[in-house]
Structure formats: C-alpha cells, structure tokens
Symmetry: C2
Subunit: 342 residues, 2 copies
Amino acid sequence: MTDPSVKAPRKPPTMADIARVTGVSPMTVSRAFKSDSLISPETRDAILKAADDLGYVFDSTASSLRSQKTDFVAVTIPSINNANFADTVGGLSEVLAARSMQILLGYTNYDMQEEERLIEQLLRRKPQAIVVTGGKHTPRARRLLENAHIPVIETWDAPTDPIGHFVGFSNAQAVRGMVDHLVEVGYRKIAFIGGDAGRDTRGSDRRLGFIEAMTAHGLDASRLIAAGTPPISMREGANAMARLLHDLPDTEAVICVSDLSAFGALTECQRRGISVPERIAIGGFGDYEIGGISVPTLTTINARAREIGLSTGQLILDILDASGDVGHIRIDPQLIVRESTR
Amino acid sequence: MTDPSVKAPRKPPTMADIARVTGVSPMTVSRAFKSDSLISPETRDAILKAADDLGYVFDSTASSLRSQKTDFVAVTIPSINNANFADTVGGLSEVLAARSMQILLGYTNYDMQEEERLIEQLLRRKPQAIVVTGGKHTPRARRLLENAHIPVIETWDAPTDPIGHFVGFSNAQAVRGMVDHLVEVGYRKIAFIGGDAGRDTRGSDRRLGFIEAMTAHGLDASRLIAAGTPPISMREGANAMARLLHDLPDTEAVICVSDLSAFGALTECQRRGISVPERIAIGGFGDYEIGGISVPTLTTINARAREIGLSTGQLILDILDASGDVGHIRIDPQLIVRESTR
DNA sequence: ATGAAAGCGCTAACAG
DNA sequence: CTGTTAGCGCTTTCAT
C-alpha cells in the first residue's frame, strides 16, 4: 500500500490545493466562493472548475473559527414528535435556510433539567442566536442564556420577565377565550382535561386560564381531570374522558389541553354511543390536522405555530443584520369554532 | 466608553485565560476538560472552578478544526412534520446524545433536488456520518455521498444498490403482506389510495407492492386512486375515498399509503354513514397513534420507525468505534390487524 | 503529570 | 482585482 495512486483515503483537498492547481493565492480561492467578493469572472470560473475536479468540499469549521461566525441557530423544543412545534421549526427553518443558516435542534422532553443540559451543549457550538420554547427555565439555564452574548428568543409564551426577545402569546388568555365561547353558547358545567401539574408549563398555564375564566364567570372551576404526565396522548385523553363521565356525569362541556387529547376524548364518547356535542361538547387546543376532519370536527385554538417560527426567523435576521431592537412579538391565537361545541 | 470595567461585550474567555488565572499551561486546561486524561485532581478542580468563575464556554469549533472531529451526524428526512420520521430521529438522537453527538437535521420536502442541495450543505459541516431517508438520490447527490469518506446510512428502504450501509425494509413487500391479509380474510375487490407517482419513492414502492400482490393473487390491480402530491394529508385521503366510492362503488377494501390518509378515508365513510369494515374495509401504513384509537381502530403496518433510528445510531457508533463492517440491517415491518378489516 | 511548539483550514486586515 | 501575513482557539506531538 505504498502506491499513492490507489484509493487510499487521501486527505481531502483544501483551498491551498486549489490555489496550487489554479496558480493563484489561497485568498483568491476563498474569494471565489463568496458571491459578493471582488474577483474577475475568469479567475472565479477557473477556481470553481478546479474545485469541482478535485472534489473539493468547503470546510465550514475552519471558516467559522476564523470569521467567528457559525451560521448556526440553536433551537430547543420539548419534543420533535409534535405537529405544533414541528410547524414552528418548519417556519423558522424556511426563513433561515434562505440565508443558508443551519438549525441546531435539541429536544428537552418537557424537562427543564434536560433543557439546561441541552442549552449548555448547544452554546458550545457557538450559535449566532438561540431559540427556546417557553419562558420558564432553571436558574442556571437562564444565566447561561444571559451570558451567552447572542440573541435569545423565547417562543410559545409571553414571559413576564423575558431574557431577551420573545415571540409568543399567553396560554392562559387563549384558554379564557375558549371558556368565554362555551359560556356564551350556553354551557355552564365545564371541565378541563390536562396533564399533571408541574412539568409542562404551557399546559399548566392553560389550566390556570380555565380556572380564571370560570371564576370570572362565577362558575365552578373545580372540574379538573389530571390525565397523566405531559404530553397527553390521545389514549390518555380517552381515559380522562372515561373518568370524567363516571365521576362528573352531569358535565356539559370539556376543554382539553390539546387537540390530540380532545380527539381521544371524542373517541371515548363514540365508543360509548355518547353524542358530541349534544350530550357533551369538546374543545381542544393547537388546531392539529385531525380536528379539522374528525366527525364531528373539533373546536380549537390555533396558536399560529408556523407563524411563530416565521416571525422568530425574521426577527433573528433583523437582529443579526441591523443589531435591531429588542423584539417582543405578541402572537394572537385564534379561536376556531367547529362542530364539537355546536 | 473607554472604561473597560463596564459591561461592554468583552471577548469571551478562552482556555488561555483560564490558564493564566490558574497558573498552568493551556494544554493542562485542555486536559482538564477531557474526562480520561492524565491530570491531578487538584489541578483539575482549580481549573474547573476558574472556568466557572470566568463563565467559560468550551469552543467546539476550534476543537473540531484541530482534532478533525466534529461530533456531528448529518440527517436528512423528507419532513419534520411526520410522526414516523420524527420517531426515527428520536431514536437516533437518543443513542447519539448518550455520546454527546449532535444531529444536524435537514428537510428535503420529499424532493430529490432539495435533498442534493441539503447534502452538499451538510457535508460542509464535516459530519462524522450522514444518514439519509430512502435509497433514491440524484446522481450528483450519490456522488457527493460516495466521495464524502464518511459512513453513509440509507434508511427506510432496502436499496438494491446501497451506497454504503442501510437500515430499512422493502416497502413493496410490506404492502404485499397487507394484501395477503385482506385476501385471506375474504376481500377480492381491493383498491389502493396513494399519492401521485414519481415523487415520494416510498409511496410508489407501496403502490408497486399492491399491484404485484394483487396480480399474484390473480386479482384486478387497477383500482388505483391518486390522491395528490405526497405526502397525502387526511383531507386528501377523505377526498380520495369520496372518489373511490363514486367511481368504483363495488370496492370491498382499500389500502391507503399511510394511516393519516386512511383515517381521512374513514371519516369520509363516517360522514356518509358507510360502515367500516362492513361495507368497506380500510388498511393503513405506519402505525400512527391515531390508528390505535379511532373508531374503528385501523389495521396497519408498523414499520418500526423508532427501531430504525436506534439501529442506525448504534450502527454509527459501532462503525466509528471499531471501523466495523458494512451494515445491511433489515427491519421487519409488522402487520397489525385491527377492527377496520374485520 | 505538565509544558512548548506547531498547525488544523480558513479569512480579517492590510498592502499594492 | 490579487497577494501577504497573521491568527481564530483549540489539540496533536513530542519533551520532560
């Protein structure tokens, strides 16, 4: 194996190699790869051709170290397997990809400790900005974010004490809108199905909004069903509905913490031959695909997940371009009334 | 603003700074951060304390450049908003995170051109391995992967001519199993609802498997409904079912390219008062959450999405550790018979 | 157990 | 429009 012509894994070519082949300086090669740089078309063409012949692959690692710019944006979401967060990441990705920025994605599994670990790990990659889901973090995570000296964007929440920027809304307020709707339509004995308190802060905020609104209407806010550890599955929604029908059979309407649990609750009614909304009405949250096509269709709240991502992406670009101001972008969730609440 | 003590965004501390404060060499600081390195406990403690005091954040970029190791694994999936691919990424992520490797995720949007662009971009980050979904790529994408000199793993397919490793199964064969089941139970006039041909290769393979199996049984394989551009939504599944019921009303059973379209088809039947499976049976693909709870529950094929991710992750670790052999891991999808096919 | 020197591949800064 | 020099922050390599 001393013959250098065999397919031994030779070291991949660098800009210096291209420079040698083309008879220019490495700096000129570097310029040939930047679209806006001053360079004669002929030189550039020759360089790009040589690069192609050699099978050259640009090394972002070296570029990043020298220029102190990585084109990374770090993002933490509770779970990858959630259409709402996926939509947000999709919107964000679309805006950032147009500037060839790469998302560094991490999953917290709805756990603040895990989020802290993740943030620490992501910051080592020197992202240009960091996007986190929610406005509650461990003290150390918050400190890490504050000291990172990059734009920090909290999403899916409107924190009372934001670290930097945010693009979000009040989960409590959104659910208050749902309660108002149900009361207006005539329901009085309204229940709430959500996850066990403590872990998923968005879910807790939604339950809080339920309690506040019911109290404001002078109604009983104690019909609370804890369905398990967030995120609540369709199955857990079904189980919770079974419990609700057994424990509080006179309940007229139920708000579920998400469309997924709402659909699960709906199927439990279908299995028991209980008609929705005639015997009991059901409201969800998140405007997942399923709520628009189930029979009956589900009343829900569209949190504008994709818009959160798009706005966050645009905000990041604005900040990086112009050192723009602090952005506190409030998203307005929309109540979508469908068949499940008459 | 000449006072250096104000909170001007000073340059973040480096190992050299820690070395100065601690009175050791930068090399010793570096060693203090590696768990396996030779260093006295006292020195290490002092260094870690100083690092904490200074708010030091390890710079992976510099580390990667010098060591020529990034701890990145590049992954392309068709869409982030798909529970199956999300499960695969989840499994992969779990295995790799344990070794603190970071996934670089990109979305092809079911488009091979986009995949090519994405692969090119991802390779610039010098990942240690690259995972792609499916076994069909543009010629240039294939060439890029072949010349990347890193492990390449194709997933969700068992390519006839794999680039390197693969962890997958035959989509055609999986659907043949579904057809066999339906025929065995007694159905003869069976239809297939899928996306328009050409784009989504997994969907096309599934349709092919349907045609092959029907032909093998001596049955009519021409009941094919094209439901739109992949991926097929629940709504498109419902529309396709409406068309099927109108155009081929004597159809006894229908296989849908995914559980999502299958559920959409089911809702169309519910809206029309058509009973499933008595009047028409429905089979899906993917074992999504919804199929296990819908009324009726859906017969489906579990492609073991999460297992694909776990196996892929383990394969990558084995290869990187031991320069292990080429892995051709065949996953065995499982038919799950539920209420929708009697 | 620790240190000194060198350099990974690229580009900022300056020169011409 | 092109080149020279230096260096980003870390770790390889070789000493001690």
